[in-house]
Symmetry: C2
Subunit: 193 residues, 2 copies
């Protein structure tokens, strides 16, 4: 496998850190320790990526593959991603310390422009047996799946090849209007996609 | 006007800090100093909100309106939001320092699962004269408008009452599939919404 170049590492830090924030909020909203533990795992992944980036930036600059200015920009953006990851961990920590989130705050988060939701996919749902890529759920409903549980197995940040099965639990984020659409699709109340 | 309670302040910090991250990435992708300056402005707003939250938490706890444990959780979540805001500022700073983002990184960010886009609304577009609430753009296309420019006026984090006019420039974030849909709607190539 080709070694990742430094742009790819920066992008991975960016995407993972944003996923971590979404997972962290979901974990406190749904009192879910499994999700908050995943945020901790991802924080380790990000630390490793950042260290790899630092080493590779120095190597690249030394051999002339990158200019110093370019490498500096990448390091700064990655550093910001690492800060975001730390913040996500701080949020997830609230859940892990067994502190119950005040119901009013839960309600407020749910009333934000962007809401988090959780729904189980019923056997009669049109989503069953299809991949996220086929369904284009994110563009059709506005809801981005951030995590899903298949029996006892968890999947975080699923991609277009991820298949949805009956009884999977979807954790998603998106606009309020999109929540009902995803809910109706998951419950087999609507086939309009 | 009723004074904001501490849950509302925390939610405002949460929403604004996430908007800042999106704006910061947009500013470096589109070399746009106006957007990066807005990130700086918002950082001040967040600092003020955080200070207000600290004062109000202490007052609430003193008069028994909130339990210490509840206030602590709110302070921690708000602190995480403030960290995210700082990270956004660090990203925006790259743009303000006149450092040109490497084209390869721009491309990578554009190839992420979630993309940023910018599009001008043509006079023949179905979007003209309608509000974001009427259009339900976010749930219909997956694209969330994070900023828009109306002539020389900028608007950040528009809400459902925001009206789109001909020649407005929309800055949006969402899944790759959604980008083409928003583009076609804006250019009058599609009326399907």
């Amino acid at each position: 496998m080709k070694e990742k170049d430094i742009e790819e590492i920066v992008l991975e830090i960016k995407d993972k850190s944003e996923l971590m924030v979404d997972l962290a909020y979901s974990s406190i909203l749904y009192d879910n320790k499994t999700i908050s533990e995943e945020v901790y795992e991802l924080e380790n992944v990000i630390d490793n990526l950042y260290q790899k980036l630092q080493r590779k930036s120095l190597e690249d600059v030394k051999k002339g593959a990158h200019k110093i200015e370019d490498a500096l920009v990448l390091l700064r953006i990655a550093h910001a991603g690492e800060q975001i990851a730390d913040a996500a961990q701080e949020i997830a920590d609230v859940e892990l310390r067994d502190v119950e989130l005040h119901p009013i705050l839960k309600l407020s988060i749910r009333e934000s422009d962007v809401v988090f939701t959780r729904v189980e996919v019923e056997p009669e749902s049109i989503l069953c047996g299809k991949t996220l890529g086929e369904l284009k759920l994110a563009s059709e409903t506005g809801m981005m799946i951030i995590a899903m549980r298949h029996k006892e197995k968890w999947l975080y940040g699923p991609n277009k090849n991820t298949k949805i099965d009956s009884h999977d639990i979807l954790y998603a984020k998106g606009p309020q209007d999109g929540e009902k659409h995803l809910f109706d699709l998951s419950k087999g109340k609507s086939n309009k996609i």
